[in-house]
């Protein structure tokens, strides 16, 4: 048991057991008066009281104040809590634990023998049940035992759970007490400290062998004064809707061997409905049906987990599973079995390809995914999803790198759209992405009408990547981060960042290479239609997300918008709504402003060439070829620049600087990718070597044992015939080698590219 006393001042403190708030000295009287006084008032001249739990002595304090009490038995299993009750809480509980009428028993109340028909009042003040074990203190068997200890006319009060946050669990408790042949009167109370912890309104249940009514609660006549509770007002908390009262009758009963209460508490939305499978199964819909097992977890975590389960299913022995399923033939109809038989045969030859399979094999896979996702999610552990590569912006750091905040508490899953605060007060101060993540501000400097007279086709002034100097430099801020290196600007332009010195400005069907240091136009670029399509696609996709979020906020504000002047959170919601609308509008403007590409037909990468960026390639001889609008191109070796008409001139320093920066970035990124691939390759090769050694060993053993088919070998922790071990190991090795080949190809390509970039950089830098 973890006991924690948070002392704010000598008189003011809060007490936690196992991380759960038990009481706060500021408002504990609300809880303890609500728990103890109504039941004492309802009992007929109570003299003998049993308190289970409550070692803090606070419920006891209330009991002892009540006139006529002759004897109190308090059973608590924790000496440590009782110690606190006698010492740190003594002033608060009026030294109740030292009262001569009180007998304290340090024991597990569930296993303590109680006298029959002895107590006029029983108060059950157990801690919140978070485990199957602690849920036993809320079981029908326990309440039956307490009922036997109640005298005729005796009454009971039970500390329940929150009917607000976990209504199903609350109803389960009521139903459980009824199942012990007791009448119940549940009611709820608002305790500010509980509400601040997120526990919601708290519930209590009065119980008795005789009927209890709300009127009795309304007409409570209490001989002692109260500190914080108005007893007559408690009845207001006893009103539940008809539907809720119906639930009290039909909710499941928490009993030994079937502790449903725990599940209802950790997953307030638990249900026993069976999964609804489409044919073929639509995975997003299926995943939606998996319960979120814990308050610790979120829907997006479950979906991420399911993705990783799907990935890890490759290493599940599907053949073995199918064999086990076939052993259960009696439980499955013939048509499923037929399909599974063929599936088993298929799996012995190759890896599962769901595209070609009938509905039951696909459902099998889907069911497997669901079952394994649930199995992996029922523990509340925050687990690290393997190999997850997230949104990650290469040139846009998420604020972790140079301004590092911390590194622990590693991310475990993707975030929901708009979940961050970037659309609230931070909006407009820096770019934001679809998740609401707010990036450090950046400025892009260029002339607003760059696409006007500065084009200069006719004058040719832009030949050589002319360093056109705009007459009016304006600062433009990126508004929205659409993807790695793709930004939507505040004025509707799009920026594709190429390097720290260069970017592409995309707008009005045109693409221009810009110097990010001076804001100068370097060169108009061929407006590759694919680029426009990609940008448009990205804008449309994310606009869709924006639309949804705008609609949600619009709906909310249509109810509450007029309270914005009064309530700061609604003001913030309104701000967010306006900001989202602003962004949507601007994206719409940007989308229109994007226009259709003014050039038609995609450029092909020349033979032996590598794309540096859209419309620009490094050729086999390390010259850079850059395409202008209309399809004309210029080629440069870093010293001179030659047009497609053969005319040559000196390259402008600005242009050169920009190209060099882009090549440098490509060098860095290609090197990084290659290094990453090499690291992965190294791991794979180690794995391949180990697997090859195992295979050789199995083959030797097979030979040494004269190819005896029954000869068994250790395959991991299993013992299987050597032939099977060879087959499985060969399959594993083949799979690893396929991955190695893919990686090697990728590395080879990267090496070629890197060599080219480095040579080009060298020659350009001279």
């Amino acid at each position: 048991m973890n006991l924690y006393l948070h002392q704010r001042t000598p008189e003011s403190f809060s007490f936690y057991i196992d991380g759960n708030l038990q009481f706060d000295s500021a408002d504990e009287a609300i809880y303890h008066e609500s728990l103890a006084l109504p039941v004492l008032c309802l009992a007929t001249q109570p003299k003998r009281v049993l308190i289970c739990g409550g070692g803090d002595g606070l419920a006891l304090r209330e009991v002892l104040r009540f006139p006529g009490i002759q004897e109190v038995v308090l059973i608590d299993c924790s000496n440590d809590v009782l110690d606190l009750g006698r010492n740190q809480f003594a002033e608060l509980n009026d030294q109740s634990l030292s009262d001569s009428r009180v007998t304290i028993v340090v024991a597990d109340a569930l296993n303590y023998a109680l006298p029959t028909a002895y107590f006029d009042t029983i108060i059950c003040d157990f801690t919140f049940p978070t485990t199957l074990e602690s849920a036993e203190g809320f079981s029908v068997e326990w309440y039956e035992k307490l009922a036997q200890a109640l005298s005729s006319g005796g009454k009971m009060a039970i500390n329940a759970v929150s009917p607000q946050n976990t209504f199903d669990a609350f109803a389960c408790l009521v139903s459980t007490i009824r199942a012990a042949n007791l009448q119940t009167l549940p009611f709820r109370v608002c305790i500010p400290s509980f509400r601040d912890q997120g526990y919601g309104a708290w519930g209590f249940i009065l119980a008795s062998k005789e009927r209890l009514t709300i009127r009795q609660l309304q007409n409570l006549s209490c001989p002692i004064s109260t500190q914080q509770v108005e007893l007559s007002a408690l009845a207001r908390g006893a009103h539940f809707t008809a539907a809720q009262r119906y639930q009290f009758h039909v909710a499941p009963v928490n009993r030994a061997g079937d502790m449903i209460l725990q599940r209802l508490l950790v997953n307030p939305e638990a249900s026993n409905k069976s999964l609804n499978f489409d044919t073929p199964p639509e995975f997003p819909n299926l995943l939606q049906q998996i319960e979120v097992s814990h308050p610790y977890h979120s829907r997006s975590m479950i979906e991420t987990l399911a993705e990783h389960v799907a990935g890890s299913l490759q290493s599940i022995d599907l053949k073995k599973l199918v064999s086990e399923l076939l052993k259960r033939a009696q439980s499955l109809p013939r048509r499923i079995l037929d399909e599974l038989e063929v599936l088993r045969e298929y799996l012995s030859r190759t890896v599962l390809d769901l595209e070609i399979w009938g509905k039951w094999a696909t459902r099998l896979f889907a069911t497997l995914l669901i079952v394994m996702t649930i199995a992996n999610s029922i523990s509340p552990d925050p687990a690290f999803a393997k190999g997850h590569s997230g949104l990650g912006h290469s040139s846009f750091s998420r604020g972790f790198s140079s301004h590092e905040t911390f590194g622990g508490g590693l991310p475990t899953g993707p975030r929901a759209p708009m979940s961050g605060n970037g659309f609230r007060s931070n909006y407009g101060t820096g770019p934001v992405d679809v998740y609401g993540y707010h990036y450090p501000p950046r400025i892009y400097i260029y002339n607003n009408d760059w696409y006007g007279s500065s084009y200069g086709y006719s004058s040719g002034s832009n030949r050589g990547g002319g360093g056109h100097q705009p007459h009016q430099q304006l600062q433009h801020k990126p508004l929205f981060v659409l993807d790695d290196d793709l930004l939507a600007m505040d004025n509707g332009d799009f920026v594709v960042t190429l390097s720290d010195k260069a970017f592409l400005l995309v707008s009005n069907g045109k693409v221009t290479l810009m110097d990010s240091t001076t804001g100068a136009v370097i060169q108009p670029i061929y407006a590759e239609p694919k680029l426009f399509d990609q940008i448009r696609q990205e804008v449309n996709n994310q606009s869709g997300d924006l639309d949804t979020e705008i609609r949600h906020r619009r709906d909310w504000l249509s109810w509450t918008g007029w309270t914005a002047d009064l309530i700061p959170t609604v003001r913030a919601d309104n701000l967010e709504y306006l900001n989202l609308q602003d962004l949507k509008r601007r994206l719409g403007v940007a989308g229109k402003k994007l226009g259709e590409s003014s050039d038609h037909g995609s450029l092909e990468v020349p033979n032996g060439g590598i794309e540096l960026f859209v419309g620009c390639h490094i050729l086999a001889d390390n010259r850079v070829q850059i395409y202008s609008p209309g399809g004309k191109y210029q080629t440069t070796d870093g010293i001179t620049i030659t047009g497609s008409d053969g005319k040559t001139s000196k390259i402008s320093p600005q242009f050169k600087t920009v190209i060099v920066s882009v090549i440098k970035k490509m060098v860095t990124e290609t090197q990084q990718d290659m290094d990453s691939d090499r690291k992965d390759l190294q791991s794979l090769q180690q794995e391949a070597t180990a697997t090859q050694m195992d295979l050789s060993e199995y083959q030797n053993l097979q030979m040494q044992n004269s190819y005896d088919p029954d000869y068994e070998v250790d395959y991991g922790t299993d013992s299987i015939p050597v032939g099977q071990a060879i087959q499985k190991t060969s399959q594993d090795l083949a799979e690893i080698q396929r991955e190695i080949q893919t990686l090697q190809l990728s590395i080879q390509t990267s090496e070629q590219h890197l060599a080219r970039f480095q040579t080009a950089l060298h020659s350009w830098s001279e």
């Binding site: 979940s419 949600h552 619009r554 909310w556 109810w559 309530i567």
Partner: protein, 183 residues
């Protein structure tokens, strides 16, 4: 004399003046009216009362049904979905008025305040429930929201909606004059 009392009683019943009718029937009894006639008048009065009570009950059901149906239909879309002016017109004026007409008509007697409060209560409760459910649903869809003051917001909006619609309904209800109940 008995004839005039009996006649007066019949006229009072026909005009729905229950107290007057009772007064005349009592007079008739005192001055020795025929038992059969007295009985017949009493029965007529009793049937009349019954039909008024039944009518009142029906009107109450209509009022509640109108509120439930009206706000139920409105709940198909958010207020923004209906368009705020249209929504305001329907939820704060249209439905409350209809409820007021039925609820107001379900109260016998001259008491405007009784009519007001009955109409007010039905409408206020209906719109409060509808508002709360609507807010809960729309709030649950927002991830980035600061939900710390939600309870205060829910209460405030529910109360204001309840009061505004309730007053419209109550005012309408109070204007209704029923045949029965005029003294």
């Amino acid at each position: 004399m008995s004839h005039s009392e009996a006649q007066a009683a019949r006229e009072a019943i026909a005009q729905g003046h229950v107290d007057q009718a009772l007064h005349h029937i009592n007079n008739l009894t005192m001055i020795g009216g025929h038992d059969a006639e007295v009985q017949e008048l009493q029965q007529r009065l009793w049937h009349y009362n019954n039909s008024i009570n039944k009518r009142n009950l029906n009107l109450q059901f209509y009022a509640v049904g109108c509120a439930v149906l009206g706000y139920g239909l409105l709940s198909l879309e958010s207020p923004a979905g209906w368009g705020l002016p249209m929504w305001g017109l329907l939820s704060l004026i249209g439905i409350p008025t209809m409820v007021g007409v039925f609820a107001g008509g379900s109260v016998t007697g001259n008491s405007k305040s009784a009519r007001f409060w009955r109409s007010f209560t039905i409408t206020a409760i209906a719109i409060a429930v509808y508002t709360l459910v609507g807010m809960l649903l729309s709030r649950s869809k927002m991830d980035s929201a600061d939900k710390s003051l939600d309870i205060a917001i829910f209460l405030l909006v529910m109360i204001v909606h309840g009061i505004v619609a309730g007053v419209v309904s109550g005012f309408t209800g109070s204007l209704i004059r029923t045949k029965a109940g005029a003294n």
